[in-house]
């Protein structure tokens, strides 16, 4: 009797272990050829692992994140971008100010002078990479905007001079130039906190053009000089940036199924029986019934739907939902990159005029707060990411998948004034041409090496690269 009981226990253990081992084999992706497993896929769908990137990424939150924050303390201006240490903390707090502003009815219009004065006092200036429709922006905060500003790109917050529990929000209409002041019921001590952060990080000296009076020639006895748009922040200290080396992870893509399998899965390709071939330049092409996914040997991912009605479906319940769904998709693909943590991307195409489910979106990469400018001849794309959406589905998608790491050399780019000195003299003295922006960006210099340069944008929309580089030892401290 005792032996019979022992046999039963042993049998139960054997049955359980066989079930566990079988399940382990079924649900483990690595045990399957081509990295695809039906059971694993089901498990991922149930647990949400496959959508981890989607779950963590919130397009609503992303829209609210400005491209740059400038903390102004009298004549000191400290700029924060997405790579800055305190950026996320400031953003979270600002979301609170913006949400509260939607509940306020204390709205009034103010003059341009007040906006300029705010930039010279204790205030925080926020700027987005593109113009937003105010109602779309408010919808990301789950609120409704009742003011008169229709499109905006920038706003300022400052404290109430008398009541510390009130914050003033100034919103500038990008089209009409109208400035609206909203008194918000929010503790303004946050501004003092940001100013205290900024005091510890000022190793660059910058001034707005209007502070230096470089925005006009009216009052000058000297006529032949450059004119800079009044709200351009001019860095007057020398800027040192590292060169970057490019790592092309698609170079030997045909031998690296662990790299391309997640990409295929994300683009909804069935990885088990897919048709694929390698082109003469080592680019790998995957073909499905309605589209092709090409991993170019220069590091560019390209998806194209053969049939405009059969792309990758997005949420098409509304235009805003479709935009958000597109941004989520882009973020999901970017999460598959083996990218430098300092690299981030920003939307670069205006979305305020999108009214239907068919639109284009572009995004650019930034590293060391400098944009990476792609040579269209080399990469066949000007932007890091380009998406074409047709009737709520992605029909074309291009993304540069290369990784960028600091190279052993640092470049002294000089100051912004040095850069303007190197601009074509005709541009400087032409009365109808103003400098509308000046920034550093990475430019492809020689095989695999990217060099930082100053770029100047003028009022005619032309952007010119300025070569003022001189190599300095790599042990120089770089921000």
């Amino acid at each position: 009797m005792k032996i019979e009981r022992l046999k039963s226990i042993l049998l139960i253990i054997l049955v359980i272990s066989s079930i566990v081992l079988t399940a382990n084999k079924w649900f483990n992706e690595e045990l399957w050829p081509e990295g695809y497993s039906f059971f694993s896929d089901v498990k991922n769908r149930l647990s949400g692992d496959n959508n981890k990137a989607k779950a963590e990424f919130s397009p609503n939150k992303e829209v609210l994140r400005p491209a740059k924050i400038i903390v102004n303390n009298l004549s000191s201006h400290v700029q924060y971008t997405k790579s800055a240490e305190n950026y996320d903390e400031i953003c979270d707090e600002i979301t609170g100010v913006l949400s509260s502003s939607l509940k306020s009815d204390k709205i009034s219009k103010v003059e341009n002078e007040e906006w300029d004065n705010l930039l010279k006092m204790k205030s925080c200036y926020f700027s987005y990479p593109v113009i937003y429709d105010a109602s779309y922006f408010a919808s990301q905060l789950s609120g409704k905007y009742t003011g008169s500003v229709k499109y905006f790109k920038e706003f300022i917050i400052t404290e109430d001079p008398r009541i510390s529990s009130l914050t003033h929000l100034y919103l500038k209409d990008s089209v009409t130039g109208v400035i609206e002041k909203i008194v918000v019921d929010y503790d303004s001590r946050i501004i003092k906190k940001y100013i205290s952060y900024a005091k510890n990080e000022t190793n660059e000296i910058s001034y707005y053009s209007f502070e230096l009076n470089f925005d006009t020639e009216d009052k000058s006895k000297i006529k032949d000089h450059a004119i800079i748009e009044r709200d351009v922040l001019i860095n007057i200290s020398e800027k040192n940036l590292p060169k970057l080396s490019e790592q092309n992870i698609f170079k030997n893509i045909a031998d690296n199924d662990s790299l391309y399998t997640p990409i295929l899965s994300y683009f909804q390709y069935n990885t088990s029986g897919i048709r694929k071939y390698v082109e003469s330049d080592n680019s790998m092409v995957f073909v499905e019934n309605y589209g092709t996914l090409k991993l170019h040997s220069n590091g560019v991912l390209e998806y194209k739907s053969n049939d405009k009605t059969k792309g990758i479906k997005l949420d098409n319940s509304s235009v805003n939902a479709c935009l958000n769904s597109c941004m989520t998709f882009v973020n999901g693909v970017t999460m598959l990159m083996n990218k430098n943590p300092l690299l981030y991307y920003e939307i670069s195409s205006d979305i305020h005029d999108i009214q239907s489910l068919s639109f284009n979106m572009t995004f650019d990469y930034y590293i060391n707060d400098s944009k990476i400018i792609f040579d269209e001849k080399k990469y066949n794309t000007k932007n890091a990411i380009s998406v074409e959406v047709e009737n709520g589905a992605i029909v074309s998608y291009t993304q540069v998948f290369n990784s960028y790491l600091p190279y052993q050399e640092t470049v002294n780019c000089g100051s912004a004034i040095n850069a303007i000195d190197n601009l074509n003299t005709d541009k400087l003295t032409s009365k109808d041409e103003k400098i509308t922006d000046i920034f550093t960006a990475y430019h492809y210099n020689k095989q695999g090496i990217w060099t930082p340069l100053w770029y100047i944008k003028d009022s005619k929309g032309n952007t010119t690269a300025i070569k003022t580089e001189s190599v300095v030892p790599s042990d120089l401290e770089v921000q």
Partner: protein, 163 residues
């Protein structure tokens, strides 16, 4: 003998005539308080906007537009010597630079408490130079608090106004 005297006189004249050249080439470290320019078309100071100004900020930016190729040097008045001494950066170098083709000039200086007499010298050649003298007063924190205290009884202080 007369020939020797004539030659000596010629050499002295040449040396005296070339003195401004040497000054122009290197920028003097010290210039007398009465130093003034020979022209008024080389530089146009944009900030501070007036010759006499007051600020509460120790870091002051001097901006200007100037004729391309002009050398701009900054001096500060030293009451101890009674003359203007050239301003230097943290590495000991003179605050002097050439204006490029943009025609723009910017230099940040650190003010001392009270009155700062700054002289901007713009040279285009040895005999062509313009001098602009600025009077910038830095109101220190103690002074501001003192004034603020006097006005506070009226409901709002000077610091609040500046804020």
């Amino acid at each position: 003998m007369a020939k020797l005297k004539f030659l000596t006189a010629c050499v002295l004249i040449i040396i005296l005539a070339s003195m401004p050249l040497m000054v122009g080439a290197t920028s003097a470290s010290s210039l007398p308080a009465y130093y003034s320019g020979t022209v008024d078309y080389l530089i146009d100071i944009r900030n501070p906007e007036t010759i006499v100004s007051t600020t509460t900020n120790r870091n002051c930016v001097i901006s200007a537009v100037a004729v391309k190729g002009t050398k701009v040097t900054l001096y500060a008045y030293d009451p101890a010597t009674g003359s203007y001494e050239v301003l230097r950066n943290s590495w000991g170098g003179k605050l002097e630079s050439y204006v490029g083709s943009s025609g723009l000039y910017v230099q940040q200086i650190t003010l001392k408490d009270g009155l700062n007499s700054i002289m901007v010298v713009a040279n285009s050649s040895t005999v062509t130079y313009e001098v602009v003298k600025l009077e910038i007063s830095l109101l220190n924190k103690g002074y501001m608090e003192n004034v603020n205290g006097n006005f506070k009884s009226n409901g709002i202080g000077v610091i609040d106004i500046f804020h």
